[in-house]
């Protein structure tokens, strides 16, 4: 599932409501069949939701802690990281090394503070942690924003792999190519409202662009196909 829209039309708020960071004013949130409306962020995490936040430096990592520690910021609550009531530094390191290898995070050492990494590697650190701890739902807000080509590719591939593994992926993005290549279904948001849902198979960039500027689905369809017709393409 993809969410399209020009930034600032309620997409970030949507992800933060789902992850429990903002209160739900009306409506309800169901995760894996359980009602999770207005539960704490921790309860929502426990119900299986992973979150790649929109502001990766401010919300996704603790810059002044090591890459290894950042990688266990979900896993520290349970075994094997916590062992006999204490955190086990050796297990943290082992886990971190595995993650660094499998997600190809470029860091001098696992003990390097995250803030010294490049944006792409910070994002890979978040991705590694969130995907490893994912229990069925992945909420990703602008995951490839500001990244170079290689990192963007890696992020998208992980999204697709997650989807193929059967997880629900909610991808919020401004990048329409990304949405079309990753998402099966796309909802367009404008001024906090949904403008309609599309199948990415028959949604074109122009169509999405129209809806993102506030044109409703039916009208956009008419205009889109209508104009196609007129130019005779």
């Amino acid at each position: 599932m993809g969410i399209a829209g020009v930034a600032g039309n309620g997409q970030r708020e949507l992800t933060e409501v789902i992850t429990g960071l903002h209160p739900v004013l009306n409506g309800s949130i169901k995760i894996n069949g359980k009602d999770m409306t207005n539960r704490s962020p921790l309860a929502i995490i426990r119900s299986g939701v992973s979150h790649i936040p929109s502001d990766r430096i401010a919300m996704g990592v603790v810059g002044d802690m090591s890459v290894a520690n950042n990688l266990v910021m979900k896993g520290y609550r349970r075994a094997p990281i916590t062992h006999g009531g204490l955190l086990d530094p050796r297990r943290i390191l082992d886990f971190a090394k595995r993650m660094i290898d499998s997600f190809k995070i470029a860091t001098p050492t696992p003990a390097t503070h995250v803030k010294f990494l490049s944006g792409g590697n910070i994002q890979k650190t978040i991705l590694a942690r969130e995907i490893d701890s994912c229990g069925g739902v992945l909420v990703a807000a602008y995951p490839s924003r500001g990244l170079d080509v290689g990192a963007t590719e890696a992020v998208r591939n992980e999204m697709v792999r997650q989807r193929d593994r059967g997880s629900g992926v909610l991808l919020v993005s401004e990048d329409l190519d990304e949405l079309l290549s990753v998402a099966d279904k796309i909802v367009v948001m404008f001024e906090g409202q949904s403008m309609g849902e599309l199948n990415s198979a028959n949604a074109g960039v122009e169509m999405l662009g129209l809806m993102m500027s506030g044109v409703s689905k039916s009208k956009a369809e008419k205009e889109y196909y209508g104009s196609d017709h007129a130019t005779g393409v």
Binding site: T82, L87, F116
Partner: protein
């Protein structure tokens, strides 16, 4: 040649150890100039201070006497600072702990078996300290009221409250007008082991070690660290920030409260004037100089206590004000703060021949 700051690739471990030590040396040098301005020989003064604080076992026990409350308050402040919660109210938490200890020691003894009096004194004293830190923590987490000011104002309130008691309702009627309560019953005395040095020292060391484990090896410490370094991210990752702040501050206040308990039950054996020696403020220096490391904090507390005892000695021997020790303490944080930059940045020379070719040519031609 030009110097600029360049970000390091990783935090320098060497700088973390060296900066506090160098800071202490710089502080000695700077204070040395002050001493010279008042026609005192810095080397002789420092020697006298050192001998006064560490020169003999009996002097050293006095240093340990002052180090004990500094350990408690320093550890308490460390926990709060770890969260970037600026608890500068250790002084008030200490006093309030002392007041509560006096209350139990003076008025509960008829109702309690003797063996249980001291544990009860300590427990209630800790609870009182916790309460005194809990109020600003609640105001902060519920209403977002600035904790720096509230904790500080509560220092004055606690000090005046204690004053009101030992000058007023609790004043010893047979004390010849001396501002203090009656002596506590002996069951409420914390045992001493040498001179005035008392078992509070071992409790403090034990808590310091325990705290190191808690801060570095438990989920609690891990969350504390996350909150202190990035509160927003901690919340996103499911950490209950408000509850953590409240719990940490209750512990922080309880430790400072314990400092007050040990002062009244082991040193003065009554609540009296002079309970506030500034330990709560020096605790800030202990916490920051130890870089919020509880074990380092134990040693720094002994060092700071040495400066206080040394200052007293210098006053007796050389007629210099005892506030010397405070000046030295106050001076330490300046180089420390300036030096912290070097753990993350380093000075880099920029060769003007590369960056400013034109200017260097001019210089050559002159």
């Amino acid at each position: 040649m030009q110097l600029v700051f360049e970000k390091r690739k990783a935090v320098s471990r060497r700088a973390i150890v060296l900066v506090p030590i160098l800071s202490f040396i710089v502080s000695l040098i700077l204070t040395g100039f002050l001493l010279m301005a008042f026609k005192a020989n810095p080397l002789r003064t420092y020697m006298a201070m050192f001998i006064g604080a560490f020169g003999s076992w009996s002097n050293f026990t006095e240093t340990l006497v002052k180090a004990t409350p500094l350990m408690f308050t320093g550890l308490g402040v460390t926990i709060a600072f770890k969260l970037r919660f600026w608890n500068i109210g250790a002084e008030g938490q200490l006093v309030f702990g002392g007041v509560a200890a006096a209350w139990v020691a003076l008025f509960w003894s008829p109702f309690l078996p003797a063996w249980s009096l001291l544990p009860m004194v300590m427990l209630v004293g800790m609870m009182a300290g916790a309460m005194w830190a809990g109020i600003p923590a609640l105001l902060k987490t519920r209403l977002n009221v600035d904790e720096t000011l509230v904790t500080l104002m509560m220092n004055y309130i606690a000090i005046l409250f204690a004053e009101g008691l030992y000058y007023g309702a609790w004043r010893d009627p047979e004390g010849y007008g001396f501002p203090g309560t009656k002596l506590f019953p002996e069951a409420a005395w914390l045992p001493r082991f040498s001179g005035r040095a008392h078992v509070g020292l071992f409790i403090a060391i034990g808590i310091g070690l325990l705290l190191w484990v808690a801060m570095n090896r438990t989920k609690w410490g891990f969350e504390l660290n996350m909150i202190g370094k990035n509160q927003k991210a901690a919340r996103c990752l499911g950490v209950n920030v408000k509850r953590n702040i409240l719990v940490a501050l209750l512990i922080s206040g309880a430790l400072s409260g314990l400092a007050g308990v040990s002062e009244v039950t082991a040193i003065s054996h009554r609540l009296q004037q002079g309970l506030t020696m500034g330990y709560g403020y020096t605790a800030i220096i202990v916490a920051w100089l130890s870089q919020l490391n509880p074990i380092a904090g134990l040693f720094v507390a002994i060092l700071m206590a040495g400066l206080l005892v040394g200052g007293d000695q210098v006053q007796m021997m050389m007629g210099l004000p005892a506030a010397m020790g405070l000046v030295l303490q106050g001076m330490i944080l300046f180089p420390m703060l300036a030096g912290s930059l070097f753990t993350e940045y380093r000075l880099k020379r920029i060769d003007p021949r590369n960056s400013r070719v034109a200017e260097s040519n001019e210089e050559l031609s002159v």
